[in-house]
Amino acid sequence: MITTSHYLVLSAILFTIGVIGVLVKRNPIVIFMCVELMLNAANLSFIALGRHFGQVNGQMYVIFALAVAAAEVSVGLGIIVAIFRSKETINVDEVNLMKS
């Protein structure tokens, strides 16, 4: 029998993989993908918990999360393109204006 806990644990694992990916990768596009993975993990737990309590709210949240994710990706990729235009690279280690 697959319980809600199974889904939640799976969601946690995916989320953690996403976190590690964000921290490890240097390609901002892949970092973005990892963020998307984290969003998906969160969505998965929303749906699982929504079913657990027999409510539609979990699915509603996911719809909005999807919309926000779409907006975020479009703007984020726009930023990456802009950075590439000005720096000729998108390596996050070379985009280090915060270092004095």
Partner: protein
């Protein structure tokens, strides 16, 4: 309830307005500045004298207990707070009583005459407005000192006159010795000021106020004088604050600390060394500040606090002995000095010692009497010597003078009056005031004979050195060739203006060039202008009549009676008229001895010294009396040894070990540690976003663990 005085503030404000005017005179009057200043500066001071007289005539007689309280700032009351911090309240208040009015009249009266004199003396100095700015400021500060209604206002004046003294000593600041003399005066005075400040703080902590008199009767002098009012004039009584008696030890400490301040300002041993050097300033400065007024502020302060001092017999004894020692040392050094102003400077030191002797034996009135007469005749002597120096084109060395009597007869005449007055020739001012001090000293129980004997010796020496000065300056043969006097450069601007203020009366000669003056048998020595001579006449007349008038009518004692207690306990073994005769004999003996020794010029050749004073024979022996005295008892040398050499070693120790080693080491060590940490932590600031993201994850982890931990604890 104390009466209020509405006029008193104007005594201070008039010179202050003069000060403001003079400071900006150049802006207002452009090229006429000097002329306007030379009217305004003496004018405001003489006006202030008029106001002081009005206060004495109109307000003082109506005042309850001869005492008024005034406001310092127009349009306010005496209760206007200057400092109002919690329990600490200090007002802009003036105390107008016979003592402060007497001093105000001396400061403005004698000061006004000296101002008039200075208009002549400084006429040619291009920086004359600056001079009178300082002069008016000095008068303002001195008046705040004497009229201030609490110790802090007195301290304001105290520091103010010190500053003006510094500014005026180093008036010709382009000559480094003047600047050094100014520094010396300022630094030595700092030592004394520290004592004054400490004494003031102690008064604050003991009495809880700094005001002399307050309406609620809690003023320092009211508390201190409470017992006296009940008639116990001689017996000691305990001062009590809020019912708690103040111990004699505390009072003694207060008095000694205040007296340390007086030592500095009034040039008493051991802080007297600055006064002779202060003669570097222009002569009117020496007359006004370093003879007539500022240096007497120590005596004024002791007299003001006489209710305190009278409760601390040991402090009074200290005052007396210090005064006596200073008087003696000053007089002995004065015997051999060759600079005319330095003789007078040491004479001043000596006379100040006399005044403190009077305070020490409890006769404050006699001290103030001597302050007054001394202000008159010492101003006369200084101004006279200024006229001599002026006539000699800036020469101050008496060995190069001589034979001036016929050339500047009027100056000679007024100088004689001054000399007889200070020497104590019967009938003149100094005779009465000095005799009163000596008589009080003799009355002092226990050590009366000793004080009297030394006092007489000092009086003898005073008569001697003053007559020596007169003979060397005016008598004997001229030690210079008239017409070949070198121009002494004392002005800042002599480089541009070859004939500075010292030879200004030769303007008509100089206009034709220096060559006309030199070698043509044309007399350079000349009488001073009227603006300088008139104050001399006034002072000379006062020197003659003031002492006799005050003594005969008893007006002076009566005037000051409400202010100071008469604390002389014992009975003199001789009557007052007997004392007069002895004093007169001593004075005449001193004058005669100098007359015999210096009447004839022993050596006629120009430039040679008197045989008795050719120091070449002795100069190798530092302990020979002549060398010893000429070098001021080696006082400066000893001070240099103690404070410069030992102090220097100590300072180097502090510098190299404490400052460079410990303090600097600590600071730099701290800096190094911080720097080390920074170098360490700087590595964390990589500028790589993912590193920051990692730190963020770490933070999230910590948060999650924290929440988990709190759940676990809550579950238990």
């Amino acid at each position: 309830m104390l009466s209020t005085s509405n006029l008193a503030m104007w005594i201070i404000l008039l010179p202050f307005l003069g000060f403001l005017h003079n400071a900006f005179a150049g802006l207002i009057w452009k090229k006429n500045a000097k002329k306007v200043v030379s009217y305004v500066a003496p004018g405001v001071v003489l006006l202030a004298f008029g106001v002081a007289l009005m206060v004495v005539m109109t307000e003082l007689p109506n005042a309850h207990d001869h005492r008024l309280i005034g406001a310092l700032i127009p349009g306010t009351s005496a209760a206007t707070p200057w400092i109002n911090l919690g329990g600490m309240r200090i007002n802009f208040e003036l105390l107008v009583d016979p003592l402060s009015l007497l001093m105000a009249m001396i400061v403005t009266g004698v000061g006004g005459l000296i101002h008039v004199y200075a208009t002549g003396y400084m006429a040619e100095d291009p920086e004359q407005p600056r001079f009178f700015t300082y002069f008016n400021l000095f008068i303002t500060m001195m008046l705040i000192l004497v009229l201030g209604g609490n110790f802090l206002l007195m301290f304001v004046g105290w520091e103010g006159v010190g500053t003006c003294s510094y500014l005026l000593i180093s008036f010709s600041y382009k000559q480094s010795e003047n600047a050094k003399a100014g520094n010396k005066a300022f630094i030595v005075n700092r030592v004394g000021d520290l004592g004054f400040a400490l004494g003031m703080m102690l008064i604050w902590s003991v009495f809880g106020t700094l005001s002399y008199f307050t309406n609620d009767g809690k003023g320092v002098l009211q508390l201190a004088g409470a017992g006296h009012a009940e008639g116990a004039h001689t017996a000691l009584h305990a001062i009590s604050v809020m019912g708690t008696p103040v111990s004699v030890a505390v009072l003694t400490t207060i008095c000694v600390l205040l007296f340390v301040g007086a030592m500095g300002k009034s040039a008493q041993i051991p802080l007297w060394v600055w006064l002779p050097d202060a003669m570097a300033g222009p002569t009117p400065v020496s007359a006004l500040i370093h003879a007539a007024t500022m240096v007497t502020s120590g005596i004024v302060m002791v007299t003001r606090c006489s209710w305190l001092f009278s409760q601390a017999p040991q402090a009074m004894q200290l005052v007396g002995y210090i005064g006596l020692a200073t008087a003696f040392v000053g007089a002995t050094i004065g015997l051999v000095q060759n600079d005319i102003k330095r003789v007078l400077a040491f004479s001043t030191v000596s006379q100040l010692g006399y005044m403190f002797l009077a305070c020490g034996v409890g006769n404050y009135t006699a001290g103030m009497f001597h302050v007054t007469t001394h202000a008159i005749f010492k101003a006369l002597l200084f101004l006279g010597s200024g006229a001599v120096i002026h006539s000699m084109l800036g020469e101050q060395d008496m060995r190069k003078m001589g034979g001036l009597r016929k050339k500047i007869f009027k100056t000679w005449l007024v100088m004689w009056v001054g000399t007889y007055a200070i020497a104590g020739v019967p009938g003149l001012s100094g005779f009465f005031s000095k005799d009163e001090i000596l008589h009080s000293a003799l009355s002092s129980p226990g050590n009366g004979m000793f004080l009297y004997g030394v006092g007489l010796a000092i009086a003898f020496m005073t008569a001697f050195y003053m007559n020596r000065l007169m003979h060397k300056t005016f008598g004997v043969t001229a030690q210079f060739v008239d017409g070949e006097l070198p121009h002494q450069h004392h002005s800042n601007f002599d480089d541009h203006d070859a004939h500075g203020h010292d030879d200004h009366a030769h303007g008509h000669d100089d206009a034709q060039g220096v060559g006309v003056v030199e070698g043509h048998g044309h007399s350079q020595v000349h009488e001073s202008p009227a603006s300088m001579m008139i104050p001399l006449y006034v002072l000379a007349a006062l020197s003659v009549v003031f002492g006799a008038w005050a003594k005969m009518t008893g007006a002076f004692e009566k005037f000051l009676e409400p202010v100071a207690p008469h604390m002389v306990h014992g009975e003199a073994p001789i009557t007052e008229s007997m004392g007069y005769i002895i004093s007169a004999c001593v004075a005449i003996a001193g004058l005669t001895l100098a007359h015999v020794l210096y009447r004839q010029a022993k050596v006629m050749e120009r430039g040679q010294l008197y045989p008795a004073e050719t120091k070449t024979r002795w100069e190798k022996n530092p302990l020979h009396p002549y060398t010893f005295l000429l070098n001021k008892w080696w006082w400066d040398v000893i001070y240099n040894g103690i404070f410069l050499k030992i102090g220097g070693i100590f300072a180097i120790l502090l510098w190299k070990v404490v400052d460079a080693g410990i303090i600097n080491g600590t600071i730099e060590g701290l800096g190094w540690i911080v720097g080390g940490f920074s170098r360490l932590f700087r590595k964390l600031q990589t500028g790589y976003v993912r590193n920051y993201a990692l730190a963020m994850l770490l933070g999230v982890l910590v948060l999650v663990l924290g929440v988990l931990g709190s759940w676990t604890i809550a579950a238990k």
